[in-house]
């Protein structure tokens, strides 16, 4: 019964979404207040209905109701409770429902926290948002119904794919989806601006918290996904330039560009058309990512063609929204007059430079991801585009971005002083170069890691030079602290986020200094790896709820002293007769990690080990956390707080920019 209620709630949500897509739109065009006012309650109720449906599906998973196909195929009565929850979105149907849930959540949030916004803008935003959710609700109901029943109900489920039985699944998809779907709001704002033909600095201010929020979650989601891959795949790789990863990187790149161009628009009323375009682009790429991941087109162009229903449906959604918004853009963008003037060397100029490089790198990822698919579809020829291609193209594009980042912070709006900025960055450059030389002298080997690490140091220091300049005049420590606290939080946010990029880059550079040992050992036999020694004490069996495992109790020694222990294991899952290895990971020193995996256990008790010392590797993800923290600080800046927009709107209706 609960399952049917969930299904019915979803149908109701679709009906309501259609109302919300049409009525406020008509109201906004006619200037009819009551019709526009339909949008807010509709958005809230739509969210509640989708939430009800999600709760119903979760309930079915938690109580192991195997009469539901989705539960039968992806759950097992003995599965640990946390995976009964996360298993809800560990499959196609459930993850699409989560997608729609987050979409509706964003709509409801706009409805509830937009009191200062002009009525027609809000009505249009919510209407466009509802077009998107109607399309996806229809998709779920017609092609991916999570509530389908089985009769007779099986006694036991097939269990969730063991690779997904991991806390990573509980965290990664929701974070990523909030990021992806968060860009739907900026998209709706862009479409609303194009429909109404009105766009100004206030508009840029409305979208900034949403863009920032989506960006923060996307950053966290990508980082989490990469760490998950790192610790499950068994040899410590964390980024493969796989189409699925690229699908999340593209909206991130476009979103980062959007964040920066919206800042220009907010402060200087410039780059309007470009900002609108990026807002459309970021969400279009999110839709593309959903298509790539959900249609099965990646596994093979042919498997897509043989079972095309879902893929074609999402492709239809994709074409409708991207095509529709771009057509709208083409018709209306010319009506938007460009605003503030700036010299090429200026804060605006630096942000334009950033945008050019970010969009080019985004285009690179795009072509690298889709080219093999397109080529195979057109000529039947199969090629691969992998890490070496992206390292050769994406890598060089990112280096100028990193060099320019501290400069961008330093240049004044309108007209900047490049030489002055360079002079103030002398210290950062010096530290970077010195770091490069010292690291190369200490580590030896190929020079690339040291060069990148030096670049990273330059960026970490350079990110704070601007803030240091503002504090330098203070005479006492107390004075300095109070000045530091008085700076806008967005200034701190920028510095922190940029430094985070530097930290991640340092971690990436340090992968070049890693040590790998692939050996066969008997328990008790020590293996040297980097500055440490690793000894497997003994192998012991252990029972989990739905698996059995063989654990290697292992010690890490430094100078003969035991400094840490770890328990890597091999798990065998009974229901799906699958073996999965659990890596042993210990963080030592400045983010370095010992990483160990049992590749095989031989009949005579010898163990095939893959053992790594990865100096500074944790900095890769720590840097991402710091980037998000920077975003969060910016988000908490009082200019962006909800309600401030309300005060700003006290002024007469924002004038059309002309």
């Amino acid at each position: 019964m609960i399952v049917e209620i969930g299904h019915y709630a979803l149908v109701l949500a679709l009906a309501l979404a259609i109302v919300q897509a049409l009525v406020p739109l008509y109201g906004a065009i006619r200037g009819d207040g009551p019709l526009m006012a339909v949008a807010q309650p509709a958005a809230v109720v739509q969210f509640l209905l989708v939430a009800l449906s999600f709760v119903a599906l979760t309930h079915a998973h938690v109580v192991s109701d195997f009469s539901v196909v989705n539960v039968f195929e992806n759950s097992h009565s003995l599965k640990p409770l946390i995976y009964k929850f996360s298993g809800v979105w560990g499959n196609h149907e459930g993850s699409m429902l989560l997608w729609v849930l987050i979409l509706a959540l964003f709509g409801a949030t706009v409805a509830l926290f937009s009191r200062g916004m002009p009525d027609d803008l809000r009505a249009l935003v919510l209407a466009v948002q509802s077009w998107v959710s109607a399309a996806f609700l229809l998709f779920v109901l017609l092609t991916s119904n999570p509530f389908a029943r089985l009769d007779p109900a099986p006694l036991e489920g097939r269990d969730l794919n063991p690779l997904l039985q991991d806390p990573g699944l509980a965290i990664h998809p929701p974070l990523l989806y909030i990021g992806y779907v968060g860009f739907s709001i900026t998209f709706s704002f862009a479409a609303a601006a194009l429909i109404s033909g009105r766009i100004d600095a206030a508009w840029a201010r409305y979208i900034r918290p949403w863009t920032l929020g989506a960006w923060i979650f996307l950053t966290l989601g990508i980082a989490m996904g990469s760490y998950w891959a790192y610790y499950t795949l068994g040899w410590g790789g964390f980024w493969f330039w796989d189409p699925v990863e690229n699908a999340s990187l593209m909206p991130w790149l476009a979103g980062t560009a959007l964040l920066h161009s919206a800042a220009v628009m907010e402060k200087r009323d410039a780059l309007k058309i470009w900002t609108i375009f990026l807002a459309i682009l970021a969400f279009s790429l999110s839709l593309l990512g959903t298509f790539l991941v959900r249609s099965g087109v990646l596994t093979s162009v042919h498997s897509f063609a043989s079972d095309p229903q879902r893929g074609v449906f999402i492709l239809g959604i994709l074409v409708f929204f991207i095509g529709g918004s771009l057509a709208l853009f083409a018709f209306r963008a010319t009506a938007l007059k460009p605003g503030g003037i700036f010299a090429p060397v200026s804060r605006e100029g630096a942000l334009v430079f950033n945008n050019l490089l970010l969009t080019t790198s985004c285009a690179t990822v795009f072509i690298g991801t889709l080219y093999p698919l397109a080529l195979e579809a057109v000529t039947g020829e199969k090629i691969s585009v992998g890490a070496p291609f992206f390292n050769l193209t994406f890598g060089p594009l990112f280096i100028p971005i990193i060099l320019a980042m501290p400069f961008g912070q330093m240049l004044a709006w309108k007209r900047g002083d490049l030489l002055g900025a360079a002079q103030r960055l002398v210290l950062a450059v010096a530290i970077g170069v010195a770091g490069m030389i010292v690291l190369e002298a200490l580590r030896g080997g190929p020079v690339m890691p040291a060069i990148l690490a030096g670049l990273a140091l330059y960026l970490m220091v350079g990110s704070f030079v601007e803030i240091y300049g503002r504090l330098r005049g203070a005479r006492t420590i107390g004075n300095m602290v109070s000045r530091a606290l008085g700076l806008p939080r967005s200034a701190w946010g920028t510095a922190l986020a940029h430094a985070g990029v530097g930290i991640t880059l340092f971690g990436l550079a340090a992968t070049g200094w890693g040590v790998e040992r692939i050996v066969t050992v008997k328990p008790g036999e020590p293996v040297a790896v980097g500055p440490y020694e690793v000894v497997v004490r003994e192998l012991a069996p252990r029972d989990g709820s739905n698996f059995k495992e063989l654990v290697a109790h292992t010690e890490i020694r430094e100078g003969g002293r035991v400094i840490a222990e770890m328990d890597p294991s091999r798990r065998s899952f009974t229901t799906r007769t699958m073996v999965r290895t659990e890596a042993g990971i210990v963080t030592l020193g400045a983010g370095g990690q010992i990483y160990m995996n049992i590749a095989d256990v031989r009949v005579d008790g010898a163990i095939d080990l893959r053992l790594y010392w990865k100096p500074y590797v944790a900095l890769i993800w720590l840097g991402c956390l710091i980037m998000s923290l920077g975003g969060l600080l910016s988000l908490s800046d009082r200019r962006l707080r909800i309600g401030v927009a309300q005060r700003a709107s006290v002024r007469p209706q924002a004038a059309p920019a002309e």
Partner: protein, 153 residues
């Protein structure tokens, strides 16, 4: 008992990870060449994984094949050519530069150049026009500035 479990695990449909100890060549220089070559070869049955990273049985066969060719005295290009002859360009993670992949290789630089050129042209046009019109009226601009300053402290 423990031994029996170890045996069971060892005999299960095995997921043996990437490079295994018995594959490694005794000559360290040959081995490091093998690693470098395998990092750029695709495991044909995986999604975008190199044979160096992959757990699949086929990847192991290919790794052994690469090492065999190296031991036989092939240089790096010869090893790659040998594999391309048998499996086609699909096995190269870095697609070769030829007519079918022209667009792929040129897009990054093309976009950068086109974008740069467009920006240059636009900034020249804007500067010519800027003498003629101001974007916001002076009063609007002053009001906006006052608002920004009041809130942006």
């Amino acid at each position: 008992m423990r031994f029996v479990l170890a045996l069971c695990l060892a005999l299960l449909p095995s997921l043996s990870l990437a490079v295994q100890p018995d594959e490694i060549l005794p000559d360290a220089r040959q081995e490091s060449r093998a690693r470098e070559i395998s990092a750029e070869l695709r495991c044909l049955v995986c999604q975008n994984q190199s044979i160096d990273d992959s757990d699949a049985g086929l990847a192991r066969d290919l790794r052994l094949l690469v090492r065999e060719r190296i031991k036989a005295g092939d240089n790096d290009t010869q090893v790659r050519d040998y594999l391309v002859q048998r499996y086609g360009d699909f096995i190269l993670l870095k697609p070769p530069f030829k007519s079918e992949t022209l667009l792929l290789w040129l897009t990054p630089f093309g976009v950068l150049l086109a974008g740069g050129a467009a920006l240059f042209a636009m900034s020249r046009r804007r500067r010519r026009e800027s003498a003629v019109e101001a974007s916001l009226s002076d009063t609007d601009e002053a009001r906006l500035k006052a608002l920004l300053e009041r809130e942006g402290r």
